[in-house]
Subunit: 403 residues, 2 copies
């Protein structure tokens, strides 16, 4: 597996574009389109929030029913959530307009939105935007699309890899956005983070769905910026088969799984790293949990701990906050068996604190990636979660991100 | 029920004191003692955190086994948590020293600690402090004790009421501390908030236990400052019977329940209001939930939402964050039946947003008590939760509260 350039337009046959349609007041890019020259097998995972945005409801219906997908239209600056019947009509209209301009069936288009909740989309601008963005589609448009789906993100997020299977190879690429309201829990047809992944491998939906679900569970679902599950989170994979590599249980599945997982984890870490106000990525690794579920629970609870996140911002190796948070997580837990490290410094081991090691741990808090490890000593459950520090800037961004 | 002065020393036969034993580096008061002239029936609820501090383990054992309790010794500045066997010895030593100085059985003393995790108590100072604090016991010492249990609290917290039952009356009073690491979940023998409640009513333990559990569930367990369940939370009630009023199922139980609940809710709201960095109390009232559990879940999730708390700090009636948080809570939820208000302003009603009402809602965000109401329209479950805004000061306090 080798990193290549291009993001979602790295795989063969994918075009993309992004532009400013005037949905954001700032005039920054806010409308993205991804298009495949051939129909794609598609899989999607969606937020489990019961307050689902209109485009989420529409894309769930599309992905459940449509035999193939060929485009994703995505706007930023307005979440089209809590917008009632009109909002639902607007989401369908985005689908239909895009299909019309691309000469597709309306069943072949997915739609997403991200931004403020509770406001109607400026449909005149969206309509004009869709007409323009179609004209700008380009095999080099991946980064443009990555920019046009940003909200409070500081950086666009993209990655692509070429994966070899014997003498054959396919390409997989992805873009993502997400900075605040990040604690996704996504399930198959059913994260506001968005990730759009494209590949020129060929794969059946029956194989693709579980691979995406598992990759999501180990990546996006293990990220938390602020413990806020959004109304609009979603991840899509489009596979157009144009590499000529057919993934089957017997051929290439292991490589495909690894590649999709790598794309998802890379993008998930970028989201945590670019969390609102974040200065540092926090990686919490848990092992020795009673089971996988407990491992996930502890890792995500510690990564989301407001007190620990603030301690990291302050450069304070306050392992007491790790202990308290892990103990409160609800997972099976025995202080007498627990080992806690920051970097490679042990701060708590089987019932006893090593407070004198805190000085040594401080240097690991100055790194851009702060690693915390917990060994629960109870079983074989392992998980990794990603978060970020809680800074003044998080407060500034969210006190001033006016509705 | 009439408010009276005195806090924990308002009921007959209770003495209290507080002083600086030198546990806090600041030199502020850090050791409190509450003492009853007669043995008390006692009930306690404790954090369900699996990383319980040593004094929590000791007090659970005491309250489970001892037929009567006569004193509570409580220090601030050090949580005596994650301190291993030595920490457990130290907690027992605090109990024994207090019993010795007061000429009690060691089974008659409860102990609590609050402060940093992972450091050993300075036992020489604690020992000297216990000897001194016993000498300062006074029937007017309630406020001294309230001050000596504070950590990052800005204000001491106390309340007392006289309750009439026909021609008789009893007094109930309480003190509490808690500002950060506040999202208690406490159960009978089994919150770092502390609340110590005294009464001169007489009541059997069998009656008192469920009354305390219910009052805790509706008060302290519904408070969140930072979604952090502490290792040291506990609430104690001591009833010495010196008013001559005997509470039974047939006599006074309703009044006693109301009074204990009023004390708990008063103190719980003070904790939220004095949350670290807080400028405003947020009260989230939920009705129409499928059941009581769902109502509690929604109320506490919204009250704890980092994004909504930051919006309140910014004076932004961002009801989208209320919707998203309620939808993510896991409770049964239907946007088509939901009504959301800030103050008396409806912002969302049965699927439709009223974004134009946001201006009107702004004035309710400038009040010291911000009230949010959700009607889920599904059933009869009701609950109220309390939280506070998330400000720059929360970050400052916790980035600098060094271990």
């Amino acid at each position: 597996m080798k990193q290549v350039i291009g993001g979602v337009t790295a795989p063969r046959g994918f075009l993309a574009a992004g532009l400013s349609a005037g949905i954001k007041q700032s005039g920054k890019p806010d409308l993205a389109l991804i298009y495949s020259l051939l129909p794609c097998i598609a899989s999607g995972v969606f937020t489990v929030n019961k307050m689902k945005a209109a485009p989420v409801l529409v894309s769930i219906e599309q992905i459940t029913k449509a035999p193939s997908i060929q485009a994703i239209i995505a706007n930023a600056g307005n979440a089209n959530c809590a917008t009632g019947k009109q909002g639902l009509c607007d989401a369908w209209k985005m689908v239909e307009l895009t299909a019309e301009e691309l000469d597709l069936l309306s069943s072949q288009v997915l739609v997403t939105s991200t931004g403020s909740i509770g406001k109607m989309l400026p449909m005149e601008r969206v309509t004009r935007g869709i007409k323009h963005v179609v004209k700008r589609l380009s095999p080099k448009g991946g980064m443009q699309a990555a920019r046009a789906i940003m909200t409070t993100d500081k950086l666009p997020k993209e990655i692509s890899y070429r994966v070899s299977i014997g003498k054959q190879s396919f390409v997989i690429g992805g873009i993502a956005k997400g900075s605040g309201m990040i604690a996704p829990q996504m399930n198959l047809p059913h994260a506001t983070m968005h990730a759009f992944i494209t590949t020129d491998a060929a794969i059946d939906k029956k194989l693709l769905d579980p691979v995406l679900q598992k990759a999501t569970e180990d990546s996006f679902n293990m990220v938390t910026v602020d413990n806020e599950m959004s109304t609009n989170d979603c991840v899509f994979v489009l596979a157009n088969g144009m590499s000529g590599v057919k993934i089957t249980k017997q051929h290439g599945l292991k490589e495909f799984k690894e590649a999709l997982r790598a794309v998802c984890i890379y993008l998930a870490k970028l989201i945590a790293q670019d969390g609102e106000g974040a200065n540092r990525l926090i990686e919490v690794s848990v092992k020795g949990a009673k089971n996988f579920k407990d491992a996930r629970t502890v890792a995500k609870t510690v990564a989301g701990s407001e007190l620990f996140k603030t301690a990291v911002f302050g450069g304070d190796p306050n392992f007491g906050r790790i202990l308290s948070s892990a103990g409160a997580s609800g997972a099976m837990f025995d202080p007498q068996k627990l080992i806690v490290q920051i970097g490679n410094v042990v701060l708590f081991k089987r019932g006893e604190s090593f407070a004198k090691n805190q000085r040594k741990a401080e240097k690991f808090l100055r790194k851009k990636e702060v690693s915390v490890a917990l060994d629960l000593g109870l079983g074989t459950g392992e998980a990794v979660a990603w978060g970020c520090d809680l800074s003044y800037d998080y407060v500034t961004i969210n006190a001033k991100y006016h509705t």
